[in-house]
């Protein structure tokens, strides 16, 4: 998987305003739909899946969520990284009774179902580093986040 076809500067956004997790997910899914990366079914699929299988990663420090859904809703593979202006509540992966404020959202749409495991592993390997999450919160703009993500994912042999 080539990192730069997956990570695209136009899908790294900062200061996104959303009043809750659903609104953030709808904004992201709608943006991908407008750009023809996903099918119209993607938005509801990602919302439903977040309800059944929440994607907030329970970790120390700045929190990140990794929403995704199955390949059938996808036209072209892409990673969409959003840093919200204000954190919103996401529920914890594996434990929907727990929730916490999340400012970083790393959504992906993957066309190749078989690669989902490898991609998630590469992403989580980057995101489980607390310093990396702090950096993603503090970097000045989308261009800096883009460079950081591409570099980290390359090191992770994605």
């Amino acid at each position: 998987m080539d990192v730069t076809t997956l990570v695209r500067s136009e899908f790294i956004r900062t200061d996104v305003e959303a009043h809750n997790a659903d609104a953030a997910l709808r904004y992201m899914a709608g943006t991908l739909l407008d750009a023809s990366f996903v099918k119209p079914t993607f938005e509801q699929a990602i919302i439903d899946r977040e309800r059944r299988n929440p994607s907030g990663l329970p970790m120390d420090g700045p929190k990140i969520a990794i929403p995704h859904t199955s390949a059938e809703h996808v036209e072209k593979s892409v990673l969409f990284f959003v840093r919200l202006a204000q954190p919103v509540e996401f529920r914890a992966m594996g434990d929907p009774d727990i929730s916490f404020p999340v400012q970083l959202i790393s959504m992906f749409a993957l066309k190749e179902a078989k690669k989902i495991g490898a991609l998630l592993e590469a992403l989580i390997t980057v995101y489980k580093d607390r310093d990396a999450r702090s950096t993603l919160v503090e970097l000045p703009d989308a261009a800096a986040i883009y460079s950081f993500l591409v570099d980290r994912l390359r090191r992770g042999r994605l």
């Binding site: 059944r52 299988n53 929440p54 594996g94 179902a113 078989k114 998630l120 989580i124 489980k128």
Partner: protein, 102 residues
């Protein structure tokens, strides 16, 4: 004495991610204490039916599970995030040891 080989179900929302990320850790942990196991990946919505068919010893999951599941269930998100990973591996080790000695 020939010991029983444990069948472990690794569960997540897609059925592939958790198994690919945790199978190796679970296998290594159990091999260290002399327990042989096979880890199979499964999507969370199929777990109840799959376990009821029999043959599964432990369910390791990163996804919330519903329904009647009559085998030990171990929450395994820490194996993905790294936070509390040792505690989860210890729980898997203890659960497996009870199963093979019982």
């Amino acid at each position: 004495m020939a010991r029983k080989k444990l069948n472990i179900l690794a569960v997540c929302g897609s059925g592939v991610v958790t198994s690919s990320m945790i199978a190796q850790k679970v296998e290594e942990t159990l091999r260290e204490v002399g327990i042989d196991c096979e880890v199979t990946g499964l999507v969370s919505t199929s777990v109840e039916e799959y376990v009821q068919r029999g043959g599964i010893d432990i369910v390791v999951t990163t996804s919330p599970l519903q329904g009647q599941i009559d085998v030990p269930i171990i929450k395994a998100v820490p194996l993905m995030t790294g936070i509390g990973e040792d505690d989860v591996l210890e729980e898997i080790r203890e659960t497996a040891q009870k199963l093979v000695s019982g």
